[in-house]
Amino acid sequence: MDELFAPTVPDEAMALALDRVRRGAETGDVSELDGLALDQVILNMGPQHPATHGVLRLVVTLDGEVVRDVIPVVGYLHRCKEKLAEKRTYYQYIPIVDRTEYMAGMNCEWTYVLAVEELAGIEVPRRAEFIRVIMAELNRIASHHVAVGTFTADLSPLGTAMAFYTFRDREKILDLLEEAAGARMMFNYFRFGGVRFDLPPGWEQRCRELMAEVPKWTDEYRALVEDNAVFLSRTIDKGVISQQDVVDYAITGPNARASGVPHDLRRTRPYSVYPELDFELCLADHGDVFDRYKVRVDEMLQSARIVQQCLDMMPRGPVQEGSLRAPYVITPPPGSAYIAQENPRGEYGIYIVSDGSRYPYRLKYRDPCFINLQLLPKLMRGNKIADAVAIGGSIDLVLGGIDR
C-alpha cells in the first residue's frame, strides 16, 4: 500500500520549484499570512489542463490563492522540424512549415517561401502577390477568432456565448479558404514564385460579401463583452506589459501593440504589396489583458479592409512564375537570409542557411509565441489563479510554434 504514496521523482522543473520554495523559506520570504504556518503548494497546471492552450505545462507555486512563481515547461509537442529541414528538399518542406504555427498556416508558408525566393532571387507575378496578401489576411481573421473565443471561454463558465459566435464566424472563413486552397487549416498552397491554384470562379464575389459582414461580427463581440461590468473588472489593469518589457523581451504582435509600441512588420519592414495598401495600426495604451483583446478585435476590421482593397486592385495574369512549375527542384546559391513577416501572433521569422545543394543546410524559426511565453512568469507573479489563467489566455499561445 505504501508504494502507492512513494513520492514521485520530481523532474527538473518540479525540483527547481521545490528548491526555490526552500530557499524562499530560509530567507524569511515565506507566505504573506506569516502568522499561519502556511507552506506553499506546488501545483502542476498542464500539460493537460483546460486553461493552457495546448500541451503547455506550468509548474505553479501557490501561496493560498496567490501565484508566487511559475515555471513553464515546454517541449511536449516537439517534432524536431529543424532537423527535418536537413532531410527534405526545399519543395517537400512547404507542408511541414504550415504545421508549426497551425493557427496561421498561410502566414508560415508565406514566410518560408519568401525566404527561399530571397535566397534564389525568384520574381513573383503581381496577381500572386495580391492572392498571397488576401490569404494571409483571411487567416489572420480566423486566427484572431480563435484567440478571442478561447480567451473569453477561459474567463467564463462552460458554454459561454462568445466562444460559439467566434467559432461560427470562423467557419465561414475556413470554407472560403477550403474553396481556394483545398484545405481548412493545413493549406500547402504557396509555391516558390507564386501560389498553386488561381482563385476559383465566383470566389471573389463571395469573399467580398463575407468581408462586408466582418464589421457586424465585431460589433456583436463588442456588445457582448466590452461593456460587461464583470468582464471589465476581470481584465482591466491585469498582467500589464510595460514598453520596457516589450523591448527587453522582444515581444511582438498584438501583445506589443497593446502596450502602445507601433511595431508591425507590414509597416516597419514592408514586404510584398503592403506599401500600396492603406490600413491603420491598431494600438492601445495600457497593455493590459483588456487592451490585448481590443487590439485583436480591431485588427480583424483592418484585415477585412485590406482584403477588400486587394480584391479591387488585383490584376489578371499568371499565378505562378512559369519556369518553376514543372521541375520541383530548386538549388538556391550558398548564403543565408533572415526573413520575418507579421504573423497573427507576432514577428514570425525564418533564418535559412543554404549550401547550394537541394536541401536547406540549416533552418531556424523565430516563433513569436516561444518569445512571448518567456514573459508569462513575470506577468503571473503576484496575481490570483483566476488572473493567471486570464493572462495566459490573453497572450494567445500556440504550442505548435513554441515546441516546433
Partner: protein, 251 residues
C-alpha cells in the same frame, strides 16, 4: 448593470436564428470541388488513364482501414486497362485456370487456417504462385492483394515464378547452415548462373531452398530433383556444380 443588459440582449437575439449545426449522417456538407478532404483516383490528363494501378498498398497501410480497392471502378472513371494488364501477364505466364481456388478459399474460411498454408496448397496446384491465382485468392478471401503478395514473396519455399524441370534445393536447417550451406549455395549459383530462388533461362533448373531433409545428420545437404547429396565438402560441391553445369551445357 447596463452593460450586462446589453450582453443579455445580444444573446437572446440569437434565440430565433436558425441553428448552424449540420446533422451529419442525415444532412451532409458538400465539399468544394478542389477540397482535398476525400480520396479520389488521380486521372493522368494526357493519357486519360487513371494513375492508380490498384496495387492496394493504400488499403493495407491505411491506419483507420477506410480504403477498399476495387478493380472494377464504380466512379465511372476511365477504368484500369485490364485487358492490357492480363494480356501482358498471360503472355508471360500462360492463361491459368483459377477455378479450384474458390474451393480452397471456402475451406480456409471454415477451417480458419493461415494464409501461408493456403498459398502452399495453391502452389501444389500450379507448381508455383501465378499472379492471376493471387488476384483471385485476394478477391475471394477479401484480403488485400498487397498482403497476399507480401506473404507469398517472403516465405522461402513459395515461388512466384514457374519452377525449372528439376529443383535444386539447398537445405537451410540449422545443422546445414552451420555446416556451410552458404558456401554450397554460392557454388551452385555460379554453376547455374542464376541467383537463389530464380530459374535458369532455359527452364531446366530452379535453385531453391528447403527447410530440412532426412539426411541432415550429415550436413551440408543438397536435393537435386529426387536424389539427395549429403556431406558436401568443398571439392565434392565443386564436382556436383560442374556436373550440373555440364549437363545444362549438353542439353
Amino acid at each position: 448593470m447596463l452593460g450586462i443588459l446589453k450582453a443579455l440582449r445580444t444573446t437572446v437575439r440569437h434565440l430565433p436564428q436558425k441553428s448552424f449545426t449540420v446533422q451529419y449522417p442525415e444532412e451532409r456538407v458538400e465539399l468544394p470541388e478542389r477540397s482535398r478532404g476525400l480520396f479520389s483516383v488521380v486521372v493522368d490528363v494526357p493519357t486519360g488513364e487513371a494513375r492508380c494501378r490498384a496495387c492496394t498498398l493504400c488499403e493495407t497501410n491505411c491506419p483507420v482501414q477506410v480504403i477498399r480497392v476495387d478493380h472494377r471502378s464504380r466512379y465511372g472513371l476511365p477504368a484500369v486497362d485490364e485487358g492490357a494488364i492480363s494480356a501482358r501477364r498471360s503472355q508471360r505466364h500462360g492463361d491459368v485456370d483459377v477455378g479450384p481456388i474458390a474451393g480452397l478459399v471456402a475451406g480456409h474460411r471454415v477451417s480458419g487456417e493461415s494464409l501461408s498454408s493456403i498459398l502452399r496448397r495453391v502452389q501444389r496446384l500450379y507448381g508455383y504462385l501465378p499472379p492471376q491465382a493471387l488476384d483471385e485468392l485476394s478477391r475471394q478471401a477479401a484480403i488485400p492483394l498487397s498482403e497476399v503478395y507480401g506473404v507469398a514473396s517472403t516465405s522461402g519455399d513459395l515461388r512466384l515464378s514457374p519452377p525449372g524441370a528439376t529443383l535444386v534445393a539447398v537445405c537451410r536447417c540449422p545443422a546445414c547452415q552451420v555446416g556451410g550451406a552458404a558456401r554450397v549455395e554460392e557454388a551452385l549459383e555460379e554453376a547455374l548462373g542464376v541467383c537463389s530462388g530464380g530459374t535458369t533461362d532455359d527452364g531446366l533448373y530452379t535453385l531453391g531452398s528447403v527447410a530440412g531433409t532426412v539426411a541432415c545428420t550429415r550436413p551440408p545437404v543438397v536435393v537435386v530433383g529426387d536424389d539427395v547429396h549429403f556431406d558436401l565438402s568443398p571439392p565434392r560441391v565443386r564436382r556436383l556444380a560442374a556436373r550440373l553445369g555440364a549437363r545444362r551445357g549438353a542439353e
